[in-house]
Subunit: 164 residues, 2 copies
């Protein structure tokens, strides 16, 4: 898989999918001698959730000593993500079967938010939506930069979507 | 840093801290030829939160085709974690200063849960607590195995805490 230098040395956090193919340490070259050793957040889809915001707040606080502040956060969504191929409803249906849930709980998982992208036409759109969730957090530093990327595992390339 | 083979080939998900020093791909040897390519969840502390449960539910559903089911989840907490050195109150206080929050919002972050371990005497205790949160989730397969580990970055060693 091709490696490239991390495109923004200010970025001290990266958010990506749990998928083994979406490991930031594989698509960007973070070595022990890299200028940055970013904190890495990963969950299903690389979605910005309340827990993602908690983690960004934690690092913003702990690193808030004026020397090593959190300058930027990078949000990455990758092509061929499982959550692009399955709707929330379908994930819930499959989970209900696999977990052997009773009818009541099947109904509950049938209505859950699993972070599916299936309603989004493009990777760029969901990246921008999740970037905006970070930018809208009232508890984060106003000067925190949010950078969006898409990643294509077949080419090993990240593409910048924009900066907020 | 020493590498070792992943101790349980059934584990298809690993939960660890966002800290660059707590990267499961560095403390366990997952290569392209490994028997497993686990999904990796990372957040502040490697805590089991609602978002962690969402991600485990997603994979349990998507991989619920009878061929590649999620057999086990590994929870790892690491020594010298920032969230062991700062209480929730202290993280909130630092965040309020760093983010330049007004008095009202400083009060809000002062009462937030940031996932601090500062009340926990040992790594083993917090690992067990988080393992139990997964085991208690009513929407996950009953046969999902939960394995706990501690990780010490100075020795590069993981130590099994237990299995639920």
């Amino acid at each position: 898989m091709p490696f490239s230098a991390f495109p923004n040395v200010k970025a001290t956090m990266v958010i990506s999918c749990m998928d083994p193919r979406a490991n930031p340490n594989e698509f960007w070259a973070f070595s022990e001698t890299s200028p940055v050793q970013p904190a890495v957040l990963r969950n299903a889809g690389g979605r910005v959730t309340e827990d993602t915001l908690r983690s960004i707040r934690v690092l913003s606080g702990i690193m808030g000593n004026g020397k090593n502040t959190v300058g930027a956060v990078a949000v990455v969504h990758h092509a061929d993500c499982g959550l692009r191929n399955f709707s929330d409803e379908r994930v819930g249906e499959l989970l209900g079967e696999r977990a052997g849930l009773d009818e009541g709980k099947k109904g509950e998982v049938g209505g859950m938010w699993f972070g599916s992208f299936s309603g989004d036409a493009t990777l760029e759109k969901s990246v921008r939506e999740d970037m905006e969730k970070i930018k809208a957090d009232p508890y984060l530093p106003r000067d925190l930069e949010v950078i969006g990327y898409t990643y294509d595992g077949t080419t090993g390339k990240t593409t910048e979507v924009g900066v907020l």
